[in-house]
């Protein structure tokens, strides 16, 4: 499988344009990566709606959890998939079907999640796709915070960084 590569501009554009994210596979367990990502994205001003049939109706980090994307009673621009690569397929199809209705623009598959066929279907339907990346990590990378953990962000600039929350 070819390595995925997305330009910084492509990722920054997505993270700069999205306001609400439906997180499929969001966990109420605070040590799970999805919980970390949800909490972080909330702290950066994103609204994150948890989607998880096993937790439907319960609250995660102050937000009501829904059983599937169709049940979410809000507009959301991005679907962030915290499921395995195979399970991502039907979720992508559901998102394509709901794209117009919910205003979905972006399909994002988490670190370790990659489904090239589903990605091709989403792109054909006019959606932007990111696979095998974490929005928390990418946000931190592009806006300087990941450097604090010694990560090679590949960002080189003599410009003063804008302060972000």
């Amino acid at each position: 499988m070819a390595e995925l590569s997305y330009t910084d501009a492509y990722i920054a554009d997505i993270l700069g344009s999205v306001a609400t994210i439906a997180m499929v596979g969001a966990s109420p367990d605070w040590v799970r990566p999805s919980y970390f990502a949800m909490k972080y994205l909330q702290s950066k001003g994103f609204r994150v709606i948890p989607v998880n049939p096993r937790a439907a109706g319960t609250q995660i980090l102050g937000e009501t959890t829904y059983a599937d994307l169709a049940a979410v009673p809000h507009q959301f621009q991005m679907v962030d998939i915290f499921r395995n690569s195979e399970a991502a397929g039907p979720i992508v199809d559901e998102a394509i079907a709901l794209a117009q209705d919910k205003g979905i623009d972006v399909i994002w598959m988490q670190l370790g999640v990659r489904n090239d066929e589903a990605a091709a279907r989403a792109e054909k339907a006019g959606l932007k796709v990111v696979m095998n990346r974490c929005p928390k990590i990418e946000y931190g990378r592009l806006f300087g915070e990941l450097s604090w953990s010694g990560v090679n962000t590949k960002i080189i600039s003599a410009k003063r960084q804008r302060l972000r929350r």
């Binding site: 605070w30 932007k128 931190g140 953990s149 010694g150 960002i155 080189i156």
Partner: protein
């Protein structure tokens, strides 16, 4: 959509100066400030909890992270084309963090027997007391590693360019052995520096530096760094529970799942550095960052001077042999051309005619060369390994690792080459008088 366009890739010299270090956002300070602080104020208790849980990026306490040290970490990762790095108080501390993150008591690993003597002692004696067994291997035939593998082996450790010098290993072939065994190849790249050699390009998974040497470059500051390539699949390998199982030392966090391709250095920091505490001081990070800015220029001169010295010694009547892979007569010349095309470093050994006593007299009689136990300084250095760095080893180990009784090690500095050659010539004639 996978964009066909690529982000700009900056050249080595640009990365050496800029990677990790943007102007400080609040004041605009252009050079990296020395954040001489132990701790960082939390916004509120929730912020503090998130930082401790690793669910947010940020600073807590300088045993774990410090803004000056993180600049050095990112810069080293950038120079080695790695994914992430964690710094430590010394090269040895960096080695300890690596193996503590990799191994359980009872585990084993393979190491080249051509290593810095201190590493052989650390692996062979001190690690043993922690329940980790190191098997030393003659690295000149990469297949020797395959033969030495045991089911409990969790890694292979080498120095591509080996201290005390002259030997170059076939790192690509050794990487293939590690890959077949699904264990990481760890390369100590101290002797070459990232300017002369990038082990990750040849298949290494983890790169370690004693930044004490060429990276800091001026003999001012102790330090070490561990860099991960981000390419090792800890899940697939199936034998690294410390990476893939919930960690009781971190409230059940699974490091590889949560941090992905920088999970190894995150764990090395969050557990090994946190619990054992060998962190790098901000002042040392600052001096090392400053040193790295001129690494490309310094290394060019280091290898040019070393090449001239090796040639001079090879033709000197009082010299028995010279072990420098830059000489066409060296058995490692072809490997050096492949793996170190800009030059095989500036640390190497030679033998004086007359053996131990002449060697000792020479080391003591130098005027410009400093007699001390370090390498990678601006100053030219000289040492008799058998009586110093490799002294703790058995005679057999000493000879096997290239530190026999007649061996003298040089670390060629940046002084005027005429003065370096003159000092050596005078030292040799005085010693044999």
């Amino acid at each position: 959509m996978t964009d066909d366009k690529k982000d700009k890739e900056f050249g080595f010299a640009t990365r050496a100066i800029h990677a990790g270090s943007r102007p400080e956002p609040l004041t605009g300070a252009r050079n990296t400030p020395i954040y001489q602080t132990t701790s960082y104020v939390f916004e509120d208790t929730d912020h503090a909890a998130d930082l401790f849980n690793l669910s947010r990026f940020g600073f807590i306490y300088s045993r774990l992270t410090n803004p000056t040290v993180s600049v050095l970490e990112e810069r080293c990762a950038a120079l080695e084309n790695g994914r992430a790095a964690v710094a430590a108080a010394s090269g040895h501390a960096a080695q300890f963090l690596t193996f503590f993150t990799l191994l359980e008591p009872g585990d084993e690993f393979l190491a080249s027997r051509n290593l810095y003597g201190g590493s052989m002692t650390q692996f062979g004696l001190s690690f043993k007391r922690l329940g980790w067994t190191c098997h030393f291997v003659d690295p000149t035939d990469p297949e020797n590693f395959r033969k030495a593998l045991t089911p409990k082996c969790k890694g292979i450790f080498i120095e591509t360019l080996a201290n005390p010098g002259g030997i170059v290993l076939d790192v690509e072939k050794i990487a293939a052995v590690a890959r077949d065994a699904q264990i990481p190849l760890i390369v100590d790249n101290t002797m070459a520096s990232p300017y002369l050699h990038n082990p990750i390009e040849w298949g290494a998974d983890i790169v370690i530096h004693s930044t004490t040497k060429f990276l800091s470059g001026h003999g001012t500051s102790m330090g070490g760094v561990v860099i991960e390539s981000g390419k090792f699949d800890w899940f697939k390998a199936g034998k690294f529970p410390t990476m893939t199982q919930p960690d009781p030392a971190y409230h059940g966090l699974t490091f590889y799942e949560t941090f992905g391709d920088f999970g190894f250095t995150t764990k090395a920091r969050a557990v090994a550095l946190r619990d054992f505490g060998p962190s790098m001081a901000p002042m040392n990070a600052f001096l090392t960052i400053t040193g790295i800015e001129t690494l490309p220029l310094r290394m060019e001169r280091h290898v040019a001077n070393a090449q001239a010295v090796a040639k001079f010694l090879a033709g000197h009547p009082k010299v028995e042999w010279v072990s420098y892979a830059g000489l066409p007569s060296s058995p490692y010349h072809d490997l050096a051309k492949k793996y170190l095309p800009k030059g095989p470093g500036s640390v190497f050994t030679f033998g004086v005619k007359g053996g131990f006593d002449v060697g000792r007299r020479m080391v003591e009689g130098m005027e410009l060369f400093s007699h001390l136990a370090n390498i990678g300084d601006t100053r030219s250095l000289i040492l008799h390994p058998a009586s110093t760095t490799h002294r703790q080893l058995s005679e057999e180990q000493r000879v096997a690792s290239g530190a026999g009784p007649d061996v003298i090690r040089l670390s060629i500095g940046l002084e005027s080459i005429e003065d370096i050659l003159e000092d050596l010539d005078r030292g040799l004639s005085r010693a044999t008088k």
